[in-house]
């Protein structure tokens, strides 16, 4: 009986200590002088990450990074830039082999964003034409991409 209890408590504990998928901290944001540099470095890193496993790591790393960038920008209501970052995150995610843990974490972040952003937003810059951003549709499309 004692052994059975021990086994049950072990299994219960084992299931509760599952390593969680962790997203990176936000890197430099658009507007920072070093932002362009980091984008160039991101592109150059592609040559360093040769090999199929390394490529998967590279694209997943970028997808994570751009998702965090998008999340931060959405939270600061910088929707135009946020949509651009989300698009880049999606592009990178398409190149990643199936990764349920990453997909689950991404979906969690995107779902949270759905609750704080408006359905659509019209971005009107001072000297150029306005752009309508269907934020809800874009976020839902990103979620669907990760559910595949």
């Amino acid at each position: 009986m004692k052994k059975l209890l021990l086994l049950i408590s072990f299994l219960a504990l084992a299931s509760s200590v599952r390593a969680e998928y962790v997203l990176p901290y936000p890197s430099f944001m658009p507007g920072n002088k070093l932002y362009r540099v980091t984008r160039i470095v991101d592109k150059l890193k592609n040559y360093w990450y040769f090999g199929s496993i390394a490529q998967a790591k590279y694209h997943l790393g970028l997808s994570d990074k751009y998702l965090v960038e998008a999340k931060t920008l959405f939270e600061y209501k910088q929707y135009l830039l946020a949509v651009d970052a989300l698009g880049r995150s999606d592009d990178e995610f398409r190149k990643v082999p199936r990764n349920p843990a990453a997909a689950e974490k991404h979906i969690e972040v995107l779902t949270q964003l759905l609750s704080i952003v408006p359905d659509a937003f019209t971005w009107t810059p001072e000297k150029s034409e306005a752009t309508r951003l269907p934020l809800k549709d874009l976020l839902e499309a990103s979620i669907r991409l990760r559910q595949l």
Binding site: W48, Y49, F50, G51, S52, I53, A54, K57
Partner: protein, 347 residues
Amino acid sequence: MILFIYIFSLIFLSVFSYGFIDPHLSTSLAYVAYDYRSVAAILFFILLVILFSLYVYFLKHTPKIWIIPAAAGILLFSYPALTYDLFNYITTAKVAFTHGENPYVVMPVEIPNEPNLAFTRAANKFALYGPVWIALTAIPHTLGSGNIWATMFAFKFMNVATYFGFCYFIWKVTKNSMNVIFFALNPLVLIEVIMNGHNDIYMIFLALVALKYKNIFALVASWFIKGATLILAPLQLLKITWEKTLVAAYWLLAFVFFVFAPIREELYPWYAVWLIATASLMNFKSHKHLLGFTMVLSFALELRHLPYMWMGYYEGPGPILRTLLTVIPMALFFVWFVWKKTKLKLF
């Protein structure tokens, strides 16, 4: 008779090394090291005493030159008994050249169904050495054609070729066979470079060539094997005599060896190859105490293998035993050195 004992001891060491074979490769002689640990440790200690005694003898009575290729040839066929580093090199090379992955980004453990993982200890680490070393490993990796034994011997063969290259360099620089013997027959060099297959000889060979010929490319290549020779960079710029350069290089490397290495991990015996190689280029008469210290250090460091061999684990009393086995012979040398100095002053 002396030569017979020497050759026999080396053959015995070569056969004895197969007692430490990884159970995933073969189990034929494995019971020696795994079931009779104390016997294995005592045998290894006796072998060390014999090899170091004969090494001292050969430094006083120059042997025939064939003893060097004979010693290297015998140990070429030994098993890398006292370390798993050679298997780490092999697996890292496989990650780079068979799987086409960047070994600085992908760890061996990330390669699905990789059979080498069974005997690779650093499977959860990215490549530990520089790109020049990774590039060099393409040679034995290709020669090995995917066979673990063939690859292991190809790595060891490359070490032997480099060892001969360095012996020739010593001869070219010093024109003294004693200098060549000081390096070539040092049991630590034979065990760590040829038997265990460590890569320190490549780093130090390039660094010493760089210092001798003021060749910055060789020094940079050395850094990109192992970073320890970074400390020698100032010597490349200084305009001092070759002899002074060697002494400075020796103490700078000793600083890395005694200070940085223990902070990073611990005092590994094979790091002494840096010091032995540097000392082997010095003038014997001017630096006899330094050379004597290097010889005692070599012996003391090889003793560090004994606690693990006896106990089968590194922890527990292992660290303190390893420290004592290193410190005691060196302390005895210092006592002898001070006593000799005092005696000379008194008379």
